[in-house]
Subunit: 323 residues, 2 copies
């Protein structure tokens, strides 16, 4: 088994899948967004979850793609809601076409995700659809909470962690669980796979928050400090708002409330406050905690360590990315 | 078996179904739209399709509701795209809340439709999901074609009939087919049920077009001639544009191109043109043709006539509505 071969067949399978043709306005945006690519992390997790138990991962390819299609559906609709002009450096669907087309193409994408899941063996279908439905509803709940938080003056740490669990982590959990279901794993193992994915997913999002401030601009590939400039309620800001007192509190609120400011100056000032409050260390500790919990889930899977090595190494590798 | 009892249990089942609670902004719009009600025609067709074969229709209630939830999902998203302020006399979801909430609540509704389908016996699930997916994608295709047609100067009759088949009729076809699947009907009968529903559905839409111009304002419950005022490309206008020649053609194009006009005068003028072109009779003939084809499908179902009476009478009754 070779990860490059899995990646290559996955890319080929996605590129050759027939989402539909007519009307063109409905299906072209799907092909467009799917081609913008990304790392295909989620379907890879499904296939690696499958290979914990079985070697014929080719059989899991189409259901694995469902996870990627669903992920891209959420991107298409989220981009409308966030009024995002760009996605992976290219115009978003609602910008390139229009908002109505982005709504409707997204709707069809969600349907196509279910179509791909139908390639699973019939015996597993009830469980797969049930688990996918829960995941899909939770992702929507997470997105709604995220929008709600934007309008609130304060958000608790626990609320934030639950929001990112729903919005981004449950899909990684489902991706891994799906691999397990397709390979015939039993319920206790499926729960561990799901938990592994969710913990790693929360860790990823926290690391995203961290890297937005402390990442290497060149490697990270986007403006460092963008979240600070936009007052985005990340883990860092939420913790800082909870912990700051006295002068630091005043200073933090000052920078948040400013409508006009020098971007470089604001980023530097808020970073200084974060440092004084020990936020970077706190955040790294939290990231480590979730990643460690994820690997404990993996440890607890009743399988030979040799079987886990592939998934363990792959996860470790994407965890240590600096972009 | 009593249609009033079916209706009443259906209404009760819908009212008591738990779509979800948290966050409130996501789930409240679902309950709001589902409560605005309507005739529950589609799930009724599922249940009546089921009773062709079996008497214990209660077992089909939850999957039947999936069809109603899906229908309301399409309304929620279509209303955003059409910028519709009202739905059944009440503010649309995107007006009462906002566009983002209407997108996201709609997304969850689609997921909840699949959740309801999961109440079907596992043996039928692959076929149900496959058929539902096709129907759902086709409904989106129909909506996209409808939006495309608005931007075109002319639309052919065949294109229009295909658009309304996709946008509205395939869901009636699926509703009936679902009833048949749940009751264990075989493939040939399922095809007839689907065809019956689609033919009746196309007939309904054409009748809607007809009644918008020739209906009794009091019974129809909305402004007569609204489609004429808005230059909506209905069956009537499409036929008139295809048939008009010479002075009539000029006159029709004159009224269509006017930006400012007296509404009553325009409606009267276009109706006069329709009459001269024999459009009302042509439309009624087409309506009759589709309804007749639908009943032929029902005739061809290999079942005792007595078994069909209930569905036949119910359909005949809704066909002869004048609103």
């Amino acid at each position: 088994m070779n990860i490059e071969e899995i990646k290559s067949q996955l890319a080929q399978e996605i590129a050759s899948y027939d989402f539909g043709r007519n009307p063109e306005e409905l299906y072209e945006p799907i092909r467009y967004l799917m081609k913008l690519s990304g790392k295909r992390l989620r379907p890879l997790l499904t296939l690696l979850g499958y290979t914990l138990y079985k070697d014929d991962w080719q059989k899991a390819l189409k259901p694995a793609i469902a996870v990627e299609v669903f992920h891209n559906f959420t991107l298409m609709h989220d981009d409308i809601m966030d009024k995002a002009p760009l996605r992976r450096g290219q115009p978003t669907v609602h910008e390139k076409w229009n908002g109505n087309i982005a709504i409707l193409s997204g709707d069809v994408m969600l349907v196509k995700a279910y179509d791909l899941l139908l390639h699973a063996p019939a015996q597993y279908l009830p469980l797969i659809i049930k688990s996918f439905n829960q995941c899909a509803a939770e992702v929507c709940e997470g997105q709604q909470l995220d929008m709600n938080f934007e309008l609130r003056s304060s958000v608790l740490e626990a609320e934030y962690l639950e929001m990112i669990r729903l919005k981004t982590a449950v899909l990684l959990g489902f991706a891994l669980e799906l691999g397990g279901i397709l390979a015939g794993a039993e319920a206790a193992s499926l729960a561990l796979l799901r938990s592994f994915g969710q913990n790693i997913g929360i860790g990823f999002q926290l690391k995203d928050d961290y890297l937005d401030v402390y990442g290497d601009a060149a490697k990270f590939g986007k403006q460092v400090g963008g979240d600070i400039i936009a007052n985005k309620k990340t883990y860092l800001l939420i913790e800082a708002l909870e912990r700051a007192e006295g002068v630091l509190k005043e200073e933090l609120h000052h920078w948040i409330s400013l409508e006009e400011f020098d971007k470089v100056e604001k980023v530097a000032a808020v970073k200084r406050i974060y440092t004084q409050l020990d936020i970077p260390a706190l955040c790294q500790q939290k990231i480590h905690q979730y990643f460690a919990q994820g690997f404990t889930d993996l440890d607890n899977l009743p399988l030979d360590e040799g079987k886990k090595l592939f998934l363990r190494n792959f996860t470790a590798q994407i965890i240590h990315r600096e972009k």
